[in-house]
Amino acid sequence: MGRRAKNKQGPPQPFVGLRDATAKHSGNATVQKTGKASAAKRKLGALDDTESITKGRAKKFKHEQPQKKNQSGSGITHENENEDSSDSESEHNALDKEFKATPLHSSKKDLFEAESSEGSSSHSEDLTDQFGHKVQTLDLSDSEDQASHDDDIQNETLSESSGSEDDIVTARNMEKRSGALDRQARREQEEDFEETMQSMQKDQEGSEMMDVDVDIEGFRLPTAAEREEESRNGGTDLATIQRRIRGCTRVLNRFSKLAEPGRSRSEYVSQIIADIAYNYGYNEFLTERLFQLFNVNEAIEFFEANETPRPVTIRANTLRTRRRDLAQALVNRGVNLEPIGKWSKEGLQVFESSVPIGATPEYLAGHYMLQAASSFLPVIALDPKPNERILDMASAPGGKTTYISAMMQNTGVVFANDATKARTKSLSANVHRLGCKNVIVCNYDGREFPKVLGGFDRVLLDAPCSGTGVISKDPSVKINKSERDFTLLSHLQKQLILCAIDSVDPKKASVVVYSTCSVMPEENEAVVAYALRKRSHVKIVPSGLEFGKEGLSNFRGKHFGDSLKLARRFYPHVHNMDGFFVAKLLVERRQKMETATEGSHPTELAGFIDDEHGELLDASRGALTFDAEEDARYMEAERRKRLKAKGYRVRPQKSVDTVV
């Protein structure tokens, strides 16, 4: 265990980690200072105190984090900022009131006033955009000032608190001392908070300033003629293009202020799309589709995230081992790993490995499966229970199938289907390697399925898709997808999802999970909305995944319905896993036919006779008469067809009587 702990690195959240580190660091600093100032006897107590203080501070930091994120996320406005600083100032004053060290108080106040005024001034300069350098240097000097100031304050408090009582801790002054330390810690914490706020703000401004410095002064949107000229010359260098992307991003973010007069937004958009396509090597069609999904900044992040590989993750096979034992065994082989997150009990994330992770004796003995983090999600949403009958419609290479089997503890039956015969080999190999004894592997087109076998308790449909979520894994998607591919795929997906819904047991409520590794709405929300429209007894339910973004309820003029918000989307740049979509559908028990007889059909018929062809029908009535008996047969057949399509259960024997 010790070795593992030693190998362990900080969690991959640099921002929080950094802040923790700074908190700890300043905590250490306090320890040192108090140590210097006080006598050796007091040292131990002080150490304890500061320890508790740092802990408390860390806690408070966590508490304050969301607030900060909110602010940074919503794009801080100037009034907000000033308000905030004044808020914290008043809070601070209130805090300090009980502590009547007047010189400190006044100095503190000075500091804050300086800060707030500086904040406002920097903002006012930010508006004018041209004094970027000035603001930056000003900020820097100020922060240094502040640091020295802080030190002064600390020294003051320390000398004050220690000087008055001659460095000896007694029962009488103990409380006072600890109180002083507490207050000091609180003060520091608030200062830290201010600092981080400022630095964040500075970062933001800084990045904008950078843009200003490098790009904006030289940035001018090329005209159509210039673009044509450029394309004729075979494009420009990458640096220019990257600069242009940055410039366009900036302009598009604050279009009304920064756009050149007379240029429309669409010109900027088409320019940035062309540049992204060139820079990252996509075809323009796909770039445009992906670009439409996000706002400008997020789109850039998304394209950037597709260039870096996702972390390697493995799933411990609970049929053979436990995650802890597996982690221990792999650590002994020189693999550096860590649990994948709170949401999974089986997942492990591999940071680095001295041995090939796909050929260790543990792997061969079936103790784990190499599996992307995103492919845990549909199975978690499916939530299989022991002794059920489950269908995995497109299952190769078997990561999800074996996970289902493990969740069922090798009871019940899992049908693992895949349409490609060659891929069923690896599927079957994985099923056997992981010791899943309840799996039946078959090779059908998924669309044949309710005919082959129905009555499943749960169906997982991880549909074949364009793979726009896994571009980092398979970059060929960047260039080989066209409009036609998307049409064909979504058509196939719509057929498959209906087959999946029809394959469940009609006598009870069952679950269908639809997932893809694509981020396109037409492969995800549109398909689910189609299924909801076609099968009235299906509804979408919360997937049981506590993270991920909500599904889109509408997209570029298409309305999918509000219920689609219950679906979950995952993005590489947000969740650091493949782009993924999961929707959990509840297929309700089909209603009896009696409840469903509607009287809409006769009125429709009446309407048909009354319309403009009515005359014609009347005129030829002599020759053409209605045979009510024969009509009834066709009408009945038609009605049954309609009800079936709506998902009602229709009795078969009745049809035999009437039709034949």
Binding site: A365, H367, V413, S426, H432, R433, I440, V441, V452, L453
Partner: protein, 180 residues
């Protein structure tokens, strides 16, 4: 998919008995569920009866595997155990061999077990007896046939072969194409 004929079951059971001996009855009389052997495309599968009945609705060309594959009948009519049967063999094995960590990889690459890699061995293992090979932390790695009895191994030199390799879990990677 069909049940085994008399001759076929005899072949399969004698082969299995070589490794698990009398424990063979535990495969047939199970307390939890009724299991059966089924032949499909020359391969013998061991599968719960309930699952087998469901698999019956899958057409023959489309059925790839069901339950656990035990092995296959070769063209000449002999039965060959596959590594996929290891789970059951390891569970009921009468004679076991444990190999040292430095012997794991050579064995997983398909080599015989030499004496230098031998960690432990079941006492009084006879010669030419089917044994299951384990790693020192009791992970089953494969199976084979002993070259010498336990007594004879004492006086052998370190490079002498103790267990002839028959199957190992490395085949999941090496022979994926032919195995399934």
């Amino acid at each position: 998919m069909r049940p085994l004929t008399e001759d076929e079951s005899k072949l399969v059971f004698t082969k299995l008995a070589n490794y698990i001996g009398k424990n063979l009855v535990h495969l047939i009389d199970r307390p939890d569920e009724v299991y059966c052997f089924r032949l499909h495309k020359d391969r013998v599968y061991y599968v719960p009866e309930r699952a087998m009945r469901l698999a019956a609705s899958v057409a023959r060309p489309n059925l790839i595997s069901l339950g656990t594959c035990f092995g296959k009948f070769s063209k000449s009519g002999k039965f060959k155990l596959h590594i996929t049967a290891l789970d059951y063999l390891a569970q009921y094995a009468k004679y076991k061999v444990w190999i040292k960590p430095n012997g794991e990889m050579p064995f997983l690459y398909g080599n015989h077990v030499v004496k230098a890699h031998l960690g432990r061995i079941t006492e009084d293992t006879p010669e030419h007896q089917g044994v299951v090979v384990f790693s020192m932390n009791d992970t089953p790695l494969g199976f084979g046939v002993t070259a010498r009895s336990t007594l004879d191994t004492r006086k052998l030199d370190p490079t002498a072969i103790i267990v002839f390799h028959q199957a190992d879990v490395g085949e999941y990677l090496r022979d994926e194409e032919t195995l399934f």
